[in-house]
Homo-oligomer: 94 residues x 7
């Protein structure tokens, strides 16, 4: 199991098809395109200088909206995950 550190969050990626023409990826438009995923693990939050942890605003099983181009992809146990900082999560889908 992956245990994210500090303010990091691990998200199960919902793969989205990207249209290609002759192998060239077609960006649908030039704007940042957010994407949704499910939180599978959260860090404990950043430790401040006076020993406090700042808790994160998301929890495991939240479906979240995040910036598609944030974070680092990681393959683990046959599935694809994204590790990103909590601040790159924009909203919870309720």
């Amino acid at each position: 199991m992956l245990k994210p550190l500090e303010d990091r969050v691990i998200i199960a990626v919902k793969d989205e098809e990207e249209q290609t023409v002759g192998g060239i990826v077609l960006a649908s438009n030039a704007k940042q395109k957010p994407q949704t995923g499910k939180v599978v693990a959260v860090g404990e939050g950043t430790l401040t200088n006076d020993g406090q942890r700042i808790p994160l605003s998301v929890k495991v099983d939240d479906e979240v909206l995040y910036d598609k181009y944030a974070g680092s992809e990681v393959d683990y146990a046959g599935a694809s995950y994204l590790v990103l900082h909590a601040k790159d999560i924009m909203a919870i889908v309720e």
Copy 2:
């Protein structure tokens, strides 16, 4: 429903026509062009190191003026929204 996190705000976008000549977008001028929209959801504000939330200065249903090029577009339940940081909102239209 989308619940924005921390200092984020979700705005219902009023689409504005962009003039095109032969498919080329014509920028009306080179200055930053603000745009208005209606706030549909606000985050709780950023959590400070000593456990305080800094409340946001806008609330749901405010009509606001924001920088057209800030934030991330998101389509949700058939409508188009913009997720941006509260600091990118310039003024409330009263």
Copy 3:
């Protein structure tokens, strides 16, 4: 009416003619050129972590000197305004 947020100020723009030769804008020189305008609305100031507002140093009706290239232009109710951060105002003209 426009109500600026936080540390923002709205200024009624005094349009200044820019000389053109054959449609090309001629910059009078390469230095930053400040410009004067009249304050029509001011924000409440930035909210600090311990709940204080830092008040702004300008008030409505002040004639101010500001950097011509700061802020965002906005047209509202038939007039042209500039929304900028208080820190971009250089001096009050008394």
Copy 4:
């Protein structure tokens, strides 16, 4: 009269001739070249979060050495001034 804001200082500019050959400005060398002027107005200093003003280290009538390329030129009442941040003043000429 111009009343500078916060940490700004207004300096009466001593124009310095720049050598030109056929209209081309000749920089004497590639180093930053400081220049002297006389302080004509000073701001009250920056307001800190706990309501204190940090006073400036220069006062009206000080002859000061400043970086020639700092600040913004402004013409007022037929004279030429420079508005700059106090931190761009390097020394007082005594």
Copy 5:
């Protein structure tokens, strides 16, 4: 033995083959690709202004996931290590 300073961590590198065609390195894709390794030494944490050490979130023998392009490689006693800042470690593999 290498004793990392402050917030640094030393990791035993698991070399990963990079595919080459005619000597050209083929990046598998354009995304940041994390990599795992084993922590062999950790610093004491950063010393704050009031004399506190902020302890690190990883310890010796943790298997960790880190950004492949972070840190500095160092060869020591015939083995290859990576020295990086604790903040570049994304997760612990449990």
Copy 6:
């Protein structure tokens, strides 16, 4: 006399010959090259928000090692000086 402000220091420059070939300056190598000089005046130190001055670590008559490309040259009373921030002084030559 020049009285440097805040964290600034004035150094009497020891001119160093730069080799030229046909008028082209030859940099001896691509590394930053420090240079020594003698401190002739020091500022009072930066004023902090709570009214304290942080004293400088150099005093008048110290021979110091500084980064050759830091600061601003100034000619005063027939001599050549360098005005730089105390943080650009690397060491005292004892």
Copy 7:
């Protein structure tokens, strides 16, 4: 003798041969390459706003691992030294 200021450290450089082909320096690879040296002098640490010195984590005679491209070279009394900030030292070789 050179006495480094604040958070600076002086290191006796162990010159490392760089391979050249026809005078062209050959970088062994594109990664940052650390290098070892011996600490010959350390500063007192940075002075904080409330008058405390933050002590450095290295002492004279430590053999240290540092980033080869950090700091400034200085020749003094016939030997070659490197002056760098303590934060650019990665580890102590014990």
